[in-house]
Symmetry: C2
Subunit: 378 residues, 2 copies
């Protein structure tokens, strides 16, 4: 075991080292460099920030102004900055549960709370999950109609990350939120990638958020900040959320590195999400004619898609590594075996990094990796 683990670690470190030597990247905004990031953070401090000084346990001009800005964009009365979405969403569901006296919360089987949070909702908050629909497709109104138990809240994730960032139509979304209202369930949006969903609905963030009582948004993912999240909703709800944030240990003495990073990246990247989406559509179009490649959703509805590649994950990653050494270009963020036999898959998110690559170059690199990993047989 230990030997395998050491080998795995050595392999991982080798990959990291090659990756950090690369000059061009397909996914996201490319790797973060510590000195560069912290120097940029220092440069983003305004004279007004400096004069007001650091935040203290959530109070301070910098953090409060940013919270107001986020609340405004989402059309909510108030917002609170939190270190993580895990914290923000459990807190939201707990508050709605306390308010309507119900303990069941409904969400998609691939919801972050279900698969990435070690069942914190249950172990910390005593909430019960009612999973809705199937893992590999969006929730439908029929799925909701099949629910018989009273719900504290319905959580909808826009877009649904684990199925490649799919989004329900505006009509379907309205029907589902109307269902929840008719059944006395609070509506919470997991908007971890809400910024990325804007081009699809062609509506303001506030219009989409208006369908929900509370909204969580993230500042790292597509936005590219170091970390950080916000929870937005009615003023009394946010006041409660601040109490729960303290209980969770998330009311840090100083959060300014995260707030500065969120603010700077927010200003820089919010206008670019439609561009990321357009480029994602172009790339899916350039890739889906290549033998051994499949994409979902096709076309992408946001900045992201799931890419399926014929071949074994290790052989594909070795081919990726060979390409990286040769061309200083890094294509695959990670790979895992896909459900489809003989295929591997990864999540591709489009950000600033892709600007250094043409669609033709990208298609060519994928052809090379596939050929390498499959011994030229495709």
């Amino acid at each position: 075991m230990q030997e395998t683990s050491d080998q795995e670690r050595a392999k991982h470190e080798e990959r990291q080292a090659v990756m950090r030597q690369c000059e061009r990247f397909l996914a996201g905004h490319g790797p973060l460099h510590l000195r560069e990031e912290l120097t940029a953070l220092a440069a983003s401090v305004t004279d007004e920030d400096e004069e007001a000084g650091p935040d203290r346990y959530g109070a301070g001009r910098l953090i409060e102004r940013f919270e107001r800005e986020i609340a405004g964009i989402l059309g909510k009365e108030a917002a609170v900055f939190m270190p993580s979405g895990t914290m923000a969403q459990q807190i939201a569901l707990r508050i709605w549960s306390e308010r309507n006296g119900r303990r069941s919360v409904a969400f998609h089987p691939t919801c972050h709370l279900e698969i990435h949070e070690q069942k914190g909702y249950e172990r910390l908050h005593g909430l019960h999950a009612r999973l809705v629909g199937e893992p590999n497709r969006l929730i439908t109104l029929d799925d909701l109609n099949a629910i018989t138990e009273p719900l504290a809240a319905l959580l909808l994730e826009l877009p649904q990350r684990e199925i490649g960032g799919q989004l329900p139509s505006w009509e379907e979304l309205n029907a589902q939120t109307a269902w929840a209202r008719a059944h006395g369930a609070a509506l919470h949006m997991d908007g971890a990638r809400l910024w990325e969903a804007a081009p699809y609905y062609e509506r303001s963030y506030a219009e989409v958020a208006a369908l929900f009582d509370s909204v969580y948004v993230s500042f790292y993912k597509g936005m590219g900040a170091i970390a950080g999240a916000a929870l937005a909703g009615p003023a009394d709800f946010i006041a409660d959320a601040r109490v729960w944030q303290r209980r969770h240990g998330g009311n840090l003495v100083q959060l300014f590195p995260y707030v500065l990073s969120a603010r700077a990246n927010f200003e820089r990247r919010l206008p670019h999400f439609p561009t990321y989406h357009r480029r994602a559509v172009e790339i899916s179009s350039a890739l889906h004619g290549i033998p051994g490649v499949a994409i979902t959703p096709d076309p992408p509805q946001t900045h992201m898609m799931h890419v399926y590649l014929r071949g074994d994950p290790d052989q594909l990653m070795d081919a990726n590594l060979a390409l990286a050494r040769d061309q200083r270009v890094w294509l695959l963020p990670w790979l895992r075996p896909a459900d489809a036999p003989g295929y591997s898959m990864f999540e591709l998110t489009i950000g600033d990094a892709v600007k250094a690559l043409t669609n033709e170059e990208i298609a060519g690199y994928f052809r090379r990796i596939l050929a390498d990993a499959n011994g030229g047989q495709l």
Copy 2:
């Protein structure tokens, strides 16, 4: 209400502005300047850090090495870096509770969990508090002997912050920890200011920590980092703690600004805690002859003490403000009415800032503030 609140805020902002113009400070390490802090953080990044890249969900060379360093200093098998002590301590108590099947945890009435965490231990973890002893003195063995219910854990805070940083004698500490072992209770140390307690026991951190199953330490307080904490203990306990950290929403995608800040300040300040303590003793000695001043504990046992000043908090703060405008020196971090009628109090912590002041100057400034606030009558 709103008017009062606006007035309060204006007053607070005015004080902050004057404070930030000051050049000398009595307490702590002086105010933090955002650009300076972030620039120093960037400068602390080594080539090795840069090569390894940022941490990701708690994994990465920088964070793992620092955790090993802290575990080593505390003589424990493992340690985990966490955003806050609130998170670290609730998690420690929950794990011990799960392991021995008991739900009551015992601590001092002024324990951080009891007075600063909105009862997170109860609302998130279903733990019950058995308060031990009296708010204004240390826990004694007699207090422990009066406990009849089975305890999941006994939490001892070293030093006891809310009574001026008092510490039990080494013999008393050994007797209390032996009591807990005899009663099947796990021993958890709230070592938020453990670094500051070293000069008192004249023992290594590991020797003090060896009396406990788990230890929480902080990196901001006396250490002066931006934020951050660590929990140390047996390897299997720390593995559990990482799971609970994820449940709490404290397993952030990137923690490097806090880890870098903790590491840099740790290296810089750990050797200086005996100096801070010696200076605290000198200052208490310079102050306790002044009419209208009282100090506890006298002499201080750590870098901190509670200072009681005759006069109303607002009048004393106005006098402090006048002194600050006149001399660009800032004496009082905050003030609240003391239990003793006609007195105000504050917590004084000694750090790097005091190096710019002589004991005679400090005594002189206190005389002036007291005279101003009391109309010359002392």
